[in-house]
């Protein structure tokens, strides 16, 4: 499997680490215990397209947001995660 880093170009999988689901959003301070439990522990087991955070630690050390199909491993989009490569994403 290869991933096209928006900064480095096409690279082998071994240069990347998968953090996991990019969807969970940290609950506001004062959120209920259930909401926090959901944020920390509960994940959808998606069969199909999913959004994930990956880290290009063996390369440019940028965080990336990757859309991957869990059934085929096809990657349909790779973009810088928010705050990475400020000039590129305008964050």
């Amino acid at each position: 499997m290869r991933i096209v880093c928006p900064f480095c170009g096409e690279r082998e999988l071994g240069e990347f680490t998968c953090l996991g689901d990019a969807k969970p959003v940290r609950p506001a301070a004062g959120a209920s215990a259930d909401e926090v439990f959901d944020y920390v522990y509960l994940r959808d087991n998606v069969a199909g397209e999913t959004s994930e955070h990956w880290y290009h630690g063996g390369g440019c050390r940028a965080w990336l947001k990757i859309t991957r199909n869990t059934l085929t491993h096809e990657i349909s989009s790779v973009e810088p995660a928010a705050g990475v490569g400020a000039a590129k994403v305008g964050a």
């Binding site: 480095c8 063996g58 050390r61 810088p80 990475v84 400020a86 000039a87």
Partner: protein
């Protein structure tokens, strides 16, 4: 009070043995040269300040800072792309150090001294690409990795900054590698293993290739 003596030493001081290595009775296909005593500063734009950093770099170095994977050389410094909105400034002789650069980039970037945190290895010779192909997944064919091309990548699970310098006078391509000091010995041994079959000429130098 205790007396300290800070003596800069190469991370390859023990591992590097100058001279011939590997296959004998052949013209060495690989030359491995460690470059010692350099100044290396990591320059990272503060959030949203890349344009300011680029302007400051142009004014300070006289060349445009790399914003894609490449190495840009001026007369006395090489700027090596190391990631989005960041690059390394490699030089010798104290011209571009933390002390001399901090003022120029005080508004736009954060600086970090890497001079003694990395080892710099230069790889050249007729078999340089063949040998590096054992360790790297980067395509080093001249058509896609010309002079000035650079990559932040991994070799033998070790992060490196790899770039192609100017060719040697005899026309051989030169590949430069910056590796973390504590990983340098490990990568050095791996490179020797990969290069042995071609015959290796090992050395170290105070000058850039």
């Amino acid at each position: 009070m205790a007396e300290f003596s800070w003596l800069p030493r190469s991370p390859l001081e023990h591992a590097l043995v100058a001279g011939a290595y590997g296959a004998r009775d052949v013209e060495p296909g690989i030359a491995l040269t460690e470059i010692r005593n350099f100044d290396l500063v990591q320059i990272m734009a503060r959030r949203g300040r890349w344009a300011d950093l680029a302007n400051a770099a142009k004014a300070r170095f006289g060349v445009s800072a790399p914003d894609t994977p490449k190495a840009v050389s001026a007369s006395d410094v090489t700027l090596i792309w190391s990631g989005p909105d960041q690059f390394l400034a490699l030089s010798k002789g104290g011209k571009h150090t933390m002390e001399t650069l901090s003022q120029a980039f005080s508004q736009s970037a954060s600086l970090s001294d890497q001079s003694h945190a990395r080892a710099l290895i230069s790889v050249t010779g007729a078999q340089a690409r063949t040998m590096l192909a054992k360790l790297s997944s980067i395509d080093l064919h001249p058509a896609v990795f010309p002079i000035g091309a650079a990559a932040a990548t991994s070799m033998d699970h070790t992060s490196v900054n790899l770039w192609r310098g100017n060719d040697r006078p005899d026309g051989q391509a030169v590949f430069n590698l910056l590796v973390f000091a504590t990983f340098a010995e490990s990568l050095w041994h791996t490179m020797l293993d990969a290069a042995a079959e071609y015959g290796v000429d090992i050395g170290h130098s105070e000058e850039f290739a």
